[in-house]
Symmetry: D2
Subunit: 239 residues, 4 copies
């Protein structure tokens, strides 16, 4: 796993603006996610919005196999060109793991083609994540469900394309459901949307959530399949 | 719609064994479903398990466009040959609407290839059915969600193939979720599994549930597509 | 069917620039498509790129149930705002039928999130369209395959998301295959990509191709499902 | 990879009945497949129809992670109980790779719920397998297409459920197409149907075909996801 090059991108605004969030994530949400992946043998790097080119320079993206994304307040701070570049890297084969409110990030919306909107509520409700496809690699080593005592509620209908594979469905104590683990293939790339991760709760320290993320990285890594030739082609000569 | 030939098959055991159920469904569950479809201009017929050939003779099936199925206690009373025949009619193009506990009926299990089992609980819990694909014809004229004050709870993971189209997901007050409106194409036939319908609650009198069933019949009707030729074939002469 | 408001949008460049194409389509490709739909009882209107707002004003789009699109040379002549508007109407429920080279049109690419590129060759090859889902409404009244003596070849891998429903696969005499009938649901809208339609061949006069388009319009029409509420919501009061 | 327990099941009839086939596969089709997997570091075992319990005893199946199946002439020689047992093991998580004419094997048909029939022709035609999902792990290290100079032709519509993931589509020189690489999840198990492998051609010696099989074994291996609890359950106590 060491040779899968994982980059964790975090907006890193809440952690700097709010003492409360900073206390929960003293090393940033990215730091907590990185720590979790290290326990599974990965060697991730982290970048943040305040870095040059929003932390998403060509040099960085050219050396990324799987990009994990956490954003919430500042989706618009990513210039369109950078969002397009991230989208293109996914189509070229980079794995893309999209967390929580990052469903509204520019690259994810560009890749989905829909608004990606949802119902939401910050109400300390319980989220219970039911594993719908236990045979999928992202379900590896998971229990039948993952219960999060307090989480932000997201509710359907969420405006996403039907996932190629629906892995998790969440139940919320306030009355909503949400497709909370969604796999997509776009171009050569694999995309996993994972719902949990509100900044006010220490979710990315949990072993089960970390297991999901480790599984997702392994699933989303590039497959070294054939690059596609496009455009005007002549008939293939029979061998 | 009058020319869509709908047959409603009902086991019709609860209604005869239990005064309580007979009081809820004095004309049988099949009668309540038929009444609902009539309001939408359909002209359905009903058959029951106690009829010759379980109500599923060749003559009946040969004149059926869409078969609606409600069974619970007596799945095994259907001989294997009849179950195979129903399966074959679906593959030949007959629509098949499978209600509630009929997920364990022989024809549905044969068509799915899985156990179709679920978690369940009779506990007077609330079921809230969220519409996940509001652009699908089965969502026609529905609200954003359908709330059933008291229903039997079904819970994931249910052992079904991932539906070709997932239309509804149900939330239950006791903590479960369920893929409760599932579309499948098998052979030339279209199959819709719809979760609600526990015999102890008067669900099939509801306007919203009747709208779902009317929509489903229209969606599941045969499409008059091409019959497939199988077996040894010669190359098609170029026109 | 008369009450389904169909708009056929055509770039209409080939027909004006080339005597050869004008001879094939004296009333434009849009005219031939409209004529075909009329035979099925539709009452379509046509618009072209050279009209104000590219023929896609709010007034027109507000009165469109299904938009059929044929473009090839001038995809970039559609301003981004209009492309975004078309995309948004699809998400709001408008059907969208995308023909041939229109796979590279701005609205389709925005909705798919991928490059939508393909291999292609203009070589007078035979295309044989195999019907993969004969139970789907778009296969209504079709034969097992549709053979087009001469068509432009498109080849896989085409860079599209896996369709929600794959209806046709085309075989080409030069050695390629193409997913040539692809259904997508995005937002409340239904999208059908249909491959045939190179301007140099009189394809849109064919009865079988017109049957496909008539079927597709019926399938893609809005379903009158629920509008989704997004954003911050409070828990639903139990009824 | 050594610890993935792979069993290759072969009918092994052609090899014993026909000198011609015996000359092509002196160690049996199973032997050629085994040899191919060994090159990728697997340590497969082989079983054949003439062994006790058709080579599919509980002891063997209990120690199988991925079962590869090649059958053609003697599908009916597998007793129903054994076919059901194989199906159940798949639902319990065993990977299942189904080759060529094994689409008509009992376990595959039970799992699919359809007839699995196809058009076919033994005519020395060329098969060109186009890779449709190059980002999928089964496409690892493959070229854009795999060309087989002479193969048996299979043609659509083949009577299978729409695959969860469609990886390959084959083109045949005689005019047919075939969905030739199809992924399914059923229960906890993963199933891959792969079309090539007519006994008269030395296909399982090819490096590219062996790459596909090695990829498929890795994809189909059990994921160690949660076992599902079914039946009557009580509400989960909130933690």
């Amino acid at each position: 796993m060491e040779n899968i090059r994982v980059i964790i991108w975090n907006e890193n605004i809440h952690e700097k603006k709010s003492e409360k969030i900073a206390a929960i994530y003293p090393n940033g949400i990215h730091g907590a996610i990185a720590e979790g992946l290290e326990k599974f043998g990965y060697n991730p790097k982290t970048v943040t919005l305040d870095m040059p080119e929003c932390g998403l320079s060509d040099e960085i993206l050219d050396n990324t196999d799987v990009l994990i994304w956490w954003g919430h307040l500042k989706h618009d701070a990513i210039p369109d060109e950078i969002a397009e570049k991230v989208k293109q890297r996914v189509l070229d084969g980079m794995g893309f793991i999209v967390l929580h409110a990052s469903r509204l990030s520019k690259p994810f919306k560009l890749l989905m083609g829909t608004s990606c909107r949802a119902k939401w509520r910050e109400n300390d409700e319980t989220e219970r994540i039911w594993i719908i496809e236990p045979g999928h690699p992202i379900a590896r080593n998971l229990p039948e469900y993952i219960e999060i005592d307090k989480e932000e509620t997201y509710g359907e209908r969420t405006d996403i394309p039907a996932p190629d594979e629906l892995i998790f469905i969440s139940w919320f104590s306030g009355g909503e459901v949400c497709r909370s683990g969604c796999c997509y293939k776009r171009g050569l790339g694999k995309i996993f949307y994972f719902k949990p991760g509100h900044e006010e709760y220490p979710i990315y320290y949990r072993d089960d959530i970390r297991q999901v993320l480790a599984n997702a990285v392994d699933w989303a890594k590039p497959s070294n399949g054939p690059k596609t030739t496009f455009g005007n082609v002549q008939p293939i000569e029979k061998i």
